[in-house]
Symmetry: C2
Subunit: 431 residues, 2 copies
Amino acid sequence: MTLLEKARKGEVTEEIRKGAMSEGISPEKLLSLVASGRAVIPKNVLRKNVRIVPIGEGLRVKVNANIGTSRDRVDIEEELRKLEVAVKAGADAVMDLSTGGPIDEIRKLIIERSPVPVGTVPIYQAACRAVERNKSFVELTVDEILEGIEKHARDGVDFMTVHCGVTREALEKLRLGGRLLDIVSRGGALMAEWMEYNGKENPLYEHYDRLLDIAREYDVTLSLGDGLRPGCISDATDLPQIHELVTLGELTLRAWEKGVQVMIEGPGHVPLHQIETNMKIQKSLCHGAPFYVLGPLPTDVAPGYDHITSAIGGALAAMWGADFLCYVTPSEHLRLPTVEDVKEGVIASRIAAHAADIARGVPGAREWDDRMAKARKEFDWEEQIRLSIDPEKARELRGSSPPSDEKVCTMCADLCAIKTSQKALSREGKK
Amino acid sequence: MTLLEKARKGEVTEEIRKGAMSEGISPEKLLSLVASGRAVIPKNVLRKNVRIVPIGEGLRVKVNANIGTSRDRVDIEEELRKLEVAVKAGADAVMDLSTGGPIDEIRKLIIERSPVPVGTVPIYQAACRAVERNKSFVELTVDEILEGIEKHARDGVDFMTVHCGVTREALEKLRLGGRLLDIVSRGGALMAEWMEYNGKENPLYEHYDRLLDIAREYDVTLSLGDGLRPGCISDATDLPQIHELVTLGELTLRAWEKGVQVMIEGPGHVPLHQIETNMKIQKSLCHGAPFYVLGPLPTDVAPGYDHITSAIGGALAAMWGADFLCYVTPSEHLRLPTVEDVKEGVIASRIAAHAADIARGVPGAREWDDRMAKARKEFDWEEQIRLSIDPEKARELRGSSPPSDEKVCTMCADLCAIKTSQKALSREGKK
């Protein structure tokens, strides 16, 4: 039985117990969320010692870090360092999106070493394998594509992105025009290319039941990819995007029927005033399934700073219902991220996630901030640093500019408002 | 006559003409906004060649950068470099908050060299002058405090923060308790200390008419400070904060009566789900006067990254009505910002402001993003870099990791979705 099926039967498994404890909620509450599909616990049946990370409605917002090589940049050690840095910075999951070098080896190493759930996009594997065999991706058979997916499941992948919603009908909508950037999802573009070349329906849609059988066998959580996500704010919330979301909602129900856990992937590039609508329509069309968003980026003009842009969009998205934020690094749109970029990306997303947790009323979220406020009031700098989202960075900045009075900092120095007001408010009135 | 009075008379001054042009709106529209107090143009009557920066309802959201020394860190050349870097990064205004070293000299140099409007908090001046004379700030007379303010006006300051709303009644509310951090505004804390020591009302409140006379004489825009702003999310939207805002609303009307332009300063630390309310209550209580916000920071736990936290809060605030964002740097809560911090802070705030501009429907805002999307579609990297909010940074990141195919980048390399999908969608169907 899968985790979903066990939850439906009311079985309080170790996953439910551990997950509930980490969320600060009762096992019954988490059980009910998982049973109804409103939360998922990505965990391949073959994986041992992986952290239990429940993702979904009302739970702490989780952060994913994408790592992995590209054809132009292959350094296995660097990718393993990215894994380490991402987890240390607080990523709740990582995706290995390697498309260059010995990708089987890289994936196995990442799964072996990752304490957190690992996701992949198996279609990249198929594309790379095709190239190895001197074939084009479009020449792959349906069986070969599904074999690539099964291979990832067998390797122990906990969740995988499958672009099932890029249907022929969806591509027709896309052809109606109106987009500035048609497809910006690698998986979506590959599927579109395959479909156009072969004149056939998307095999992940047409043979969705075979995909579900694989996911069921290994208890892999499906992350239904948004192959038609907007790649610029001008394309946001348009017909192709919403058409795909409608399809993903239907596929959600079919996955649940087979006992397979599902989350939905979402945009992308969305202006601020459309984020709330995007979150609500997803929850509605996809029957409450967890929403896993990339960004969203509320502006297209900040390459080099897209971790910030994404933190803005992600915070809003999570406040309004997104459950899982895929980080974006400062390098997005420019290059494969460095190890330092990975850290910056994770921290920015965690800030967004935590700000949203407070707004969502997640148990324990506000307490963290209140402890920080208390430490500030007491000029307890060690505690302030300890409580910081990145204690190393906080210590480094403070240490680089030591104040003459160790109680304060060099920004206000002797004019520290907290000090002044404590003096003022403790007076007994007129001298 | 002040700018406000001329606008009321329907006079299309050079300021209105230039301001309207820079905003892409008609002079009549800007005239009406200024006349009604819903927009301000900070410009001291003595200042020549200062950029015209209209701030207010429906206008492009502006960004301010705070610079200036503290007792623990005095380096005039560094502060002038901060000015230069802030303006180059796109700050629309700067505030000189110097409290250490030869602050008169620093202020004069900054005003002399700044192409954008300059603001100050004259009460800091008074506090520092008192120390120079071996007096405590609390021993200053009302006349001495007002002289300090007039001195700044005479020096050509375009806007100044005055903490008039920290009244005895407000402090009583504060004493009712409930706050984790009582006062985190330097100016607010100084006023509270003075009031408690002297057993008197806030002189900036009690002698508000004298303050208005100074502002009127030099046509200085008053920025009514939020001395009781929340310093942690636990204190947000509470009685002292809102009590002060009510007072500032009353003082707004009194300023307008005297022909003085006014904006209102706002929080501070505010959780995401309270930002909309905070913006709307300000616009309502303060009769549509422009809202100038510091942050808001939707979480307290990210020292070292508060430019990101602030960008999240600032974007939401500006979408919902804030007109002017005071940047926060990565060093906030830890040290006086460095030159590099100043740049990071300005860029983060500009991203927030621009994202909000799109949501506000500011003329021309979306077009910037659309040009970027078009350049991405066309693999026009020079144009992408040119259009970036920080072209140097974008060029540096891309240049550090050159792709083997110059059309793409090293993130996706040969699997570039835009390339793949253009190929796919241009096919004529089945082979």
